[in-house]
């Protein structure tokens, strides 16, 4: 990007980056500026009315034009109200609509970003980009534009009117303005640093609360409540001091504004008091303008500072929007198969389910070490591949590659005999069924969740899928059956129930390729048995990849890949692997032992109950 400097920060507070967005709101920005302009104008006229009242009615002692005065005044008030109404309404509406557009774009973009982005950035971080940065930017462009226009105009207008009445007196008042502006600019930097520091300490305090609560058991057993308390108090004292420092600066700011306004007033009285003899109104008008100037000057400095501050938000947001998905379809592929949001399903070939790894090298983006090197593997349609290894050994890599969540660094993965990059991602994904270790449901009803992968599933198909995973019990439990709301993230269901639903969801999608990523690792024994029984049925007639934590469940797999520290160390059928007496053999022995111990306890318990 041309506007990006070496250090990656943006020029002109990043405002150029936002021009395309603001351009879309040309009309609104125009209305806001115009109404702000009129508001400023009307603000200026107010004191003129007072001047007239004083000069004409009070000094000359006549009420001849009073009716006109009242009518004009009320008309002016009406105009003020009207422009203010338009200004406020359009301004807020523009702000929220800018937010909406930015969020919509961010969300859409996020649907296409690749998994290397998601593994490099936490959900909280991405969420903040889409929610808070956008709202700050929106505020900057609608709110601040209006204020800037209004105040700039007021300042210029007030100076012009004062000049037209009395040049010398105006000069006296104006000396103060640059001094005060300079003062504000000098102090603002400090104010911002302090503001940032207090926010940082504040989040530390929240962190301390979190630690004090989640670590309660440890704190109690170590009897260090008082120590933790003391440390906490040190942090709040730190906060106290910083906040007070900040307040002193802020107060100084406000007091100086006040003081400057009064100095201007004193100037007017001193140099212009004599005016009052002839024209009390003119004198009083000067008073109004002189006093009224300081507030807008302060506002302008603050607005400028807000733009300086807003740079960070713009930076973060544009960085998100400029991140290019590392896995994407070529223009030719999109031409033929359509993109994610507008697929051309009519051009899609039917997916059979043959997968082949051909000389595949793979390393994760940013990593040094290759996870796969010159890897070959044929998975003909209907094959059941199992991947085993310890927790955190990197078992998901194969699934990531098959799903094209990541692409090979070198070599090819063929689906139905052709490199899968020759077809669209959506084409492949539409033929997948995926069950994760920690089930993820979306808020909505059970039915909506079940039909997530295939929205046109019939009631019979749904019932069939439920029967297959023995989840009838869950549905019957609720009065509303399938139309029961599952809550945010499915939280109204237990983990086991969620997993059964997510498994049924995968079955309903009628996948050609089924990926089970430790589907039974986080569920209770009963659910595990149900799912296991279903798996045995479901993998027939499909290509399936089962990442397993229980070795006993994959003994019959066609190919077992054994993973250690990210690499595939052994491959073969169960018996072959055992005969090798290598890593798989050790895993198997240990797990067998654990199972046997568990069996002893189960035995004991049942005896105990009898």
């Amino acid at each position: 990007m041309r506007t990006t400097k070496k250090d990656g920060s943006l020029r002109f507070f990043g405002i150029p980056k936002m021009i395309p967005l603001v351009k879309r709101f040309k009309k609104q920005v125009l209305i806001i500026s115009l109404s702000a302009f009129v508001s400023g104008l009307l603000d200026l006229i107010g004191p003129l009315f007072n001047r007239y009242a004083l000069n004409h009615f009070v000094t000359e002692g006549t009420l001849d034009t009073l009716p006109f005065f009242i009518v004009l005044y009320v008309i002016m008030l009406g105009l003020i109200a009207l422009t203010a109404y338009i200004n406020i309404k359009v301004q807020i509406a523009t702000e929220v609509t800018m937010n909406r557009d930015m969020r919509n774009e961010a969300f859409t973009h996020l649907q296409e970003l690749s998994f290397d982005y998601y593994s490099a950035n936490s959900v909280g971080y991405i969420h903040a980009r889409a929610m808070s940065d956008t709202s700050r930017i929106g505020n900057l462009f609608s709110n601040q534009i209006s204020d800037t226009v209004e105040f700039l105009f007021y300042i210029v207008g007030a100076i012009v009117i004062m000049l037209s009445v009395n040049v010398r007196l105006t000069g006296a008042v104006l000396i103060i303005v640059p001094i005060i502006a300079l003062f504000f600019s000098l102090f603002y930097g400090k104010l911002f640093t302090l503001g940032k520091q207090t926010r940082e300490i504040n989040s530390k305090i929240t962190g301390n609360f979190n630690e004090g609560i989640t670590g309660a058991k440890t704190i109690k057993s170590l009897v260090i409540e008082d120590r933790i308390d003391e440390d906490f108090r040190a942090e709040t004292t730190n906060m106290y001091n910083k906040a007070r420092q900040l307040a002193r600066h802020r107060s100084l700011f406000a007091s100086v504004t006040d003081l400057a306004a009064s100095f201007a007033l004193a100037f007017v009285l001193w140099k212009g008091g004599i005016l009052a003899k002839e024209q009390v109104g003119t004198f009083s008008m000067f008073m109004s303008y002189a006093q009224g100037l300081m507030e807008p000057v302060r506002w302008l400095v603050e607005t400028l500072a807000l733009f300086v501050n807003g740079k960070v938000n713009i930076e973060r947001f544009t960085k998100l929007m400029e991140t290019v998905p590392s896995v994407s379809d070529t223009p030719e592929v999109i031409e033929k198969y359509g993109d994610v949001f507008n697929p051309k399903k009519e051009n899609w070939e039917e997916l059979r389910g043959d997968i082949e790894f051909k000389n595949v090298d793979f390393k994760y983006p940013g990593a040094e070490e290759y996870v796969l090197k010159d890897f070959d593997l044929k998975i003909p349609f209907g094959t059941n591949v199992a991947i085993v290894g310890e927790t955190g050994a990197g078992k998901s890599t194969m699934a990531n590659l098959i799903c094209r969540f990541y692409e090979p660094t070198a070599g090819q993965i063929l689906v139905d005999g052709r490199d899968y990059r020759e077809r669209s991602q959506l084409w492949l994904h539409s033929a997948l069924g995926y069950v994760l270790q920690t089930p993820h449901l979306f808020s909505g009803t059970i039915r909506e969740n079940l039909t997530y992968g295939r929205n046109d599933a019939t009631d019979e198909e749904i019932a069939e899928a439920i029967r297959m995973v023995s989840a009838e019990g869950i549905i019957e439990k609720f009065d509303k059956g399938l139309d029961t709301d599952v809550g945010e993230g499915g939280d109204l269901l237990s983990t086991g129930e969620k997993q059964l639903i997510s498994f049924a969801r995968a079955i309903l999608a009628r996948p050609r390729i089924l990926i089970l990523d430790e589907a039974t690792a986080s569920v209770d024994t009963i659910t595990e048995q149900k799912i296991q029984a279903a798996i045995d049925k479901v993998i027939k007639g499909r290509t399936s990849v089962v990442i397993a934590h229980r070795l006993s469940t994959i003994r019959n797999a066609d190919i077992i890949l054994v993973v250690d520290s990210g690499k595939i160390v052994e491959r073969g059928r169960h018996e072959e692997l055992l005969a090798m007496k290598g890593y798989y053999y050790r895993l198997w022995t240990r797990q067998y032992e654990d199972d046997a111990v568990a069996a002893v306890w189960a035995d004991a318990s049942s005896e105990n109950k009898n």
């Binding site: 009242a53 002692g61 937010n99 959900v123 989640t214 001193w270 992968g453 055992l578």
Partner: protein
């Protein structure tokens, strides 16, 4: 919704409780707020003086009219040389304006600074008392409440109360002062005109109060919807794998757009309401000003008001309209602060852990005895049934148990994390019932290493030495060595100063466990409990740690909970806990030959792997 259900009496009690709580928090900051109010009084007075100076300048010094000021003012002016002298030397009057401005500037500064000091003192006090209170609440309470909820009460609710006290409560006083003073000066100049100025105010107030509600409803709707939009993004991001694998990007987009657009339309509607509210409010107060101007002119023309008085009167009148606009906001903030205080009260009114009267600091190096202990967690079935056993001082007890057998509960009871109800048996140390042993004393003398170790986001050094500030680096290194953590720590570039947690390195499960053991070892307590705390380390390290334990803690009473037989084989006595009951009890050797659970697990764990592998192989063939 609970607010509607409560009766008037309850409301009264609630209000009293709120006030009590608030007063408790306000200790130490009340004086500051009082100072802030006094400063704002001076500030307001200065505000009132300005129009009088200008009135005098316009009417008397420049206009040459007969002054109508009180006696003392006239005396003061005479001493300065009289009004006509001042008229020729206007700089004196300008100076007066500057002097007033400086006084006002200083008092304004003081007012803001004092107010902030008061507010920060309040916040600090609230946070400190709440934190300390939470730390001292029983463990049971912690188990019952959600972390997120408690944190919200400690952060955003505290902030709301601060805003209320610092901004609303003080400004109520300040605004009242301003209104009273303005009215006083207005009345003193012209009673008739003042009445004319006052008449429109009730109407404006009524408008503000009524329509503010509508706007607030809109705000609430928007807030709720924003929460939904936010949750939708969250859900989409956490479920990204599912979205992609099921090829549902388009549908997700469609759903999000629908929700986001709805949120937007709510705001656009609210924008219109807000615009109408603020504009009308502004229009009404401007109209009131017009009425005063017109009436003032009429009064002037009729000779009932001088030009200077007119200018002063208009100034005072403008000081009236600002406070009135604030009033609506204040009332709504007040009810919000009440809700927040209520939520804070839910924490502060919980009783903290307390020792029974007459509790003692009994010697802790005696025998530990569990006698007929039964226990159930609130609302669930019994987890321990009539458990009795004795651990002679200085001996090692091993406990073997399956998941849910109640072994961890035993230790939580021993450490008084949960209190054993009367009549459910007794736990005693050296013959003293732990119910009458001071909790802090008890816990200090029991070093407990928990199943899932919790490390603080501090350095490794600080984590190990957290139990006392007097521990030296040597102590830390020694403990780390005994826990077999030294080698791992030396591998880190910053050694013991390596930061643990989010901002630092992530320790492996085994390293965390060993750090927790080192932290427990350093205390050199007479009783040591290791609750499955070596599960994530390999057998060799396990053995090494246990050897170090024996060497250093020959005299300590040790309780080892494990499901690894090798860990338990050196214990003096082992009990096998099954479903809350003691199934077997004896020395490891006795249990080995008893043919029970212990024996069977021993056989499995020490048995030859070959046998099982063969077994597995056969099983595999069977299925083929």
């Amino acid at each position: 919704m609970p607010e509607k259900a409560v009766s008037k009496q309850d409301k009264k009690t609630a209000r009293r409780l709120h006030t009590q709580l608030l007063l408790k928090f306000l200790k130490g900051s009340k004086r500051l707020f009082a100072c802030s109010i006094i400063s704002s009084l001076i500030y307001a007075l200065c505000d009132m003086v300005d129009p009088q100076i200008f009135r005098a300048a316009i009417d008397n010094a420049i206009g040459g009219k007969e002054p109508t000021f009180p006696r003392y003012v006239l005396d003061f002016v005479d001493r300065l040389g009289g009004f006509s002298y001042l008229g020729q030397h206007l700089w004196i009057m300008a100076l007066a304006v500057v002097v007033v401005a400086v006084i006002r500037g200083i008092s304004g500064y003081l007012q803001r600074v004092m107010n902030n000091k008061g507010a920060e003192t309040l916040v600090r006090r609230m946070r400190d008392t709440m934190f300390s209170h939470i730390e001292h609440l029983p463990y049971e309470w912690h188990m019952k409440n959600h972390t997120g909820d408690i944190i919200q009460r400690c952060t955003s609710d505290v902030e709301m109360v601060r805003m209320f006290v610092a901004e609303q409560l003080v400004s109520v006083v300040r605004i009242s002062i301003m209104i009273i003073l303005s009215l006083f000066f207005m009345f003193s100049m012209n009673v008739g005109l003042t009445f004319i100025a006052i008449i429109p105010i009730p109407f404006i107030l009524t408008y503000v109060l009524i329509f503010r509600k509508e706007m607030e409803k809109g705000f609430r709707e928007c807030d709720e919807m924003e929460g939904k939009v936010s949750a939708r993004i969250q859900e989409n991001l956490t479920g990204m794998r599912v979205v992609r694998a099921f090829a549902q990007e388009a549908k997700e987009k469609e759903k999000f757009l629908e929700q986001n657009n709805h949120y937007n339309s709510l705001w656009v509607r609210l924008a219109a309401i807000m615009a109408r509210f603020f504009t009308t409010q502004h229009f009404l107060s401007m109209l009131q000003i017009l009425i005063v101007i017109v009436a003032g002119c009429v009064f002037c023309v009729n000779g009932k008001l001088t030009p200077g008085e007119y200018v002063a009167f208009v100034s005072y009148n403008s000081m009236l309209s600002f406070p009135i606009r604030r009033l609506g906001r204040m009332i709504s903030e007040m009810s919000k602060a009440g809700v927040c205080l209520d939520r804070i009260g839910h924490i502060m009114n919980e009783p903290v852990e307390q020792d029974a009267p007459g509790s003692v600091e009994a010697p802790m190096d005696g025998d530990i005895e569990f006698s007929h202990v039964s226990f159930s967690y609130e609302g669930s079935s019994e987890v321990l049934h009539d458990v009795s056993f004795k651990i002679p001082a200085g001996s090692t007890l091993g406990i073997l148990g399956g998941t849910g057998s109640g072994k961890s509960t035993l230790m939580l009871l021993l450490d008084k994390m949960y209190s054993l109800p009367e009549g459910s048996g007794t736990i005693s140390i050296g013959g003293v019932d732990i119910r009458v042993i001071k909790t802090r004393h008890l816990r200090k003398n029991i070093s407990m290493v928990l199943q899932e170790p919790f490390l603080f986001s501090r350095t490794i050094h600080e984590n190990i030495s957290i139990s006392s500030r007097t521990l030296t680096m040597e102590d830390v290194e020694e403990a780390a060595k005994a826990a077999c953590l030294d080698e791992a720590v030396e591998g880190f570039s910053k050694g013991y100063e390596t930061f643990v947690g989010e901002r630092g390195v992530t320790l492996s499960g085994g390293q965390k466990q060993r750090a927790a053991i080192a932290r427990a070892l350093i205390a050199k307590a007479p009783i040591m409990v290791l609750d499955d705390s070596l599960s994530a380390v390999d057998t060799e390290t396990d053995a090494k740690v246990r050897r170090a334990l024996e060497e250093r803690f020959g005299s300590a009473t040790i309780i080892l909970i494990s499901h690894r037989i090798t860990t338990l084989s050196k214990a003096d006595k082992v009990i096998v806990l099954d479903n809350g009951r003691i199934a077997e009890e004896g020395t490891p050797d006795e249990l080995r030959t008893a043919g029970g659970i212990y024996n069977r697990i021993y056989d499995i764990q020490s048995g030859l792997g070959d046998a099982y592998a063969k077994d597995g192989k056969e099983a595999g063939h069977e299925n083929d």
